[in-house]
């Protein structure tokens, strides 16, 4: 930017505009998912029961995420995976099957989540099992409220209200503590 001509002002505007569009599309994609996605409620299993609220966000674990997902033989760490779930009992979702490509669930009550294989555990004479990350493993809470919420959560069950898109994308809508939704915000 040695000399600034009207053309350079255009360059400045283009940079700011392209970056604004990038940020806006991030927000829009998320809001569309939260608004249009199918809502499911899934039970949360604490990752470390002694320290659920580390700082000001919660680390959330799911029964269909941690080390127990049977995956196809040829799957590798870092691969994309589609996991089909079925609600066995209220908020208890269990894995029906996994695939490396998107597949329409045979039963309309089933739901398919898109995830990334975090780690594959291979044992002899057994199908490999994997930890799967869906991008719904953390929930930020306002500064200073983490510890308070932690007290509230003890001995109570928490679950997460999730929005699932038609392509398997998934987002957290809210946390549900003892039947009450906490910290749910408007979309914008």
């Amino acid at each position: 930017m040695i000399k600034l001509s009207p053309a350079s002002w255009l360059a400045v505007a283009i940079v700011a505009l392209v970056q604004t569009v990038a940020l806006a599309s991030m927000v829009y994609g998320r809001v569309a998912l939260l608004r249009d996605g199918r809502e499911i409620v899934a039970e949360v299993i604490p990752v470390d029961p002694r320290d659920l609220f580390r700082g000001d966000y919660v680390i959330l674990g799911y029964t269909f995420g941690r080390a127990q997902v049977t995956v196809p033989e040829d799957i590798n760490q870092g691969d994309r995976i589609y996991v089909t779930l079925r609600e066995a009992a209220p908020t208890q979702w269990e894995v029906v099957g996994t695939s490396s490509t998107w597949q329409q669930p045979s039963d309309p009550s089933h739901v398919v989540l898109k995830g990334i294989v975090d780690y594959v555990y291979r044992a002899q004479n057994e199908a490999p099992k994997a930890s799967v990350r869906y991008g719904i493993e953390s929930y930020f809470v306002p500064e200073g409220t983490g510890r308070e919420l932690e007290k509230q959560v003890q001995d109570k069950k928490i679950s997460a209200a999730l929005a699932v898109g038609s392509d398997g994308d998934v987002a957290i809508k809210a946390l549900i503590v003892d039947g009450q939704r906490v910290h749910q915000e408007p979309w914008f």
Binding site: M1, I2, S8, A11, A22, M26, G135, I136, E143, W187
Partner: protein
């Protein structure tokens, strides 16, 4: 008189245009001024005037610009820690609007500063805008509880930095883009536990921007990043034992640089840079073969001799062609190689005194070679 340790060959070659390398320029002119005054070419008043002019250039603009860049980095960090502190008492729409206002404000400020000819400050404001773009990505991820792959966010940020760097021709922003891409490549390689080839795509784009800008420090950043990538191949390919390939790649780069210098002698900086990064790659591969792979003794001795020969060749080349980088790599590499061999062999086959004797003989031979070269390279005395 020249201070000891300055190689005459190198001092006589003007490798860098002065503006690109203010510090070495100042050092050189300091020495030259004394010589010129003693030769009677420059009056003492002239020398004082030149020195004052130099001081002014460095002290005011250089320092102010450096401080401006630092302040942009600090404010960028302030924005990010503000984000991390979870300002969730504000509605989301307000948070988003604030971020966008800060983004547009930074770029607008950059435009105003550039218009007034304050290029350094304008670059700092651009860097601040890029920092706010990254902070906004993190803010949005946090606001919507997106816990996806953090590396994707870094890549998006790097894209924004590259865009700003190219559109506004801002070198600090381009440098930051490369830093982000390196971070992205390393974290993806660690996550996937394999060679992360996609790294080469943004690397090539940013390197092309450096070349287009004719920005030499940026090209060094590119060379460093690519050398690191090639060296990492040795630990990833062939079950982590591909260091021979790394050595071959490094030697091939060096050969290409030497051939290139013959074919296109009008671009010495490009070829000497390529030669030095080739040397770094070849040495890293040789060191991995010697000290990481635990080879048999005869193989180890062969490799050590090869490494020392390569280093002596680098010093020789550095002196002959005025390639200061090769010279220093040669000296430093030689010392490290000797120390590493010492560490590996002490108490095993060779005893300490024998080792020092051998090392001493090698170094004295090197000194003799260096002395002869020095004597040959010494220009006819210009000073009375």
């Amino acid at each position: 008189m020249r201070s000891p340790g300055t190689h005459p060959e190198i001092a006589n070659r003007n490798l860098d245009p002065p503006k690109n390398n203010m510090w070495s320029y100042r050092k050189r002119i300091d020495q030259d001024l004394v010589r010129w005054r003693e030769a009677g070419w420059v009056t003492p008043e002239g020398e004082t005037a030149i020195r004052q002019d130099l001081e002014k250039g460095v002290r005011t603009l250089g320092l102010a610009n450096a401080l401006a860049i630092l302040s942009a980095v600090l404010i960028g960090f302030a924005v990010m820690s503000f984000v991390a502190a979870n300002w969730q008492t504000m509605p989301r729409i307000l948070r988003l609007s604030l971020m966008l206002a800060a983004l547009w404000g930074s770029y607008g400020l950059a435009g105003l500063l550039a218009r007034r000819g304050m290029t350094g400050f304008a670059n700092a404001a651009i860097l601040l805008g890029v920092g706010i773009f990254g902070g906004s990505i993190m803010l949005i991820s946090q606001m919507y509880h997106m816990h996806g792959n953090p590396a994707d966010a870094v890549l998006l940020w790097a894209g924004g930095a590259l865009l700003a760097g190219v559109m506004l021709r801002s070198n600090p922003s381009l440098a930051f883009a490369m830093v982000l891409v390196i971070y992205w490549g390393v974290s993806e390689a660690l996550r996937l536990e394999k060679v992360f080839w996609p790294f080469l795509i943004p690397w090539a784009l940013i390197s092309a921007a450096y070349y287009w800008q004719r920005w030499r420090p940026g090209l060094h950043l590119s060379g460093l990043a690519l050398a690191g990538f090639v060296i990492s191949l040795g630990y990833r390919l062939n079950d982590g034992h591909a260091h021979g390939l790394v050595v071959a790649a490094g030697l091939a780069v060096m050969a290409a640089a030497i051939a290139g210098e013959r074919l296109q002698p009008d671009r010495p900086a490009l070829w000497s840079g390529a030669l030095n990064y080739g040397l770094v790659i070849a040495l890293a591969g040789l060191w991995a073969l010697q000290f990481f792979e635990e080879p048999a003794l005869d193989v180890f001795i062969l490799l050590a001799v090869l490494a020392l020969a390569l280093l002596i060749a680098a010093i020789f080349w550095g002196l002959r062609s005025g390639n200061r980088g090769a010279l220093w790599l040669g000296y430093v590499g030689f010392s490290v190689e000797i120390l590493a061999i010492y560490g590996k062999t002490i108490g095993t086959l060779l005893n300490t005194s024998l080792f020092f004797l051998v090392a001493g003989l090698i170094v004295s031979g090197l000194a003799a070679v260096a002395y002869r070269l020095h004597a040959r390279g010494e220009p006819q005395p210009a000073t009375p």
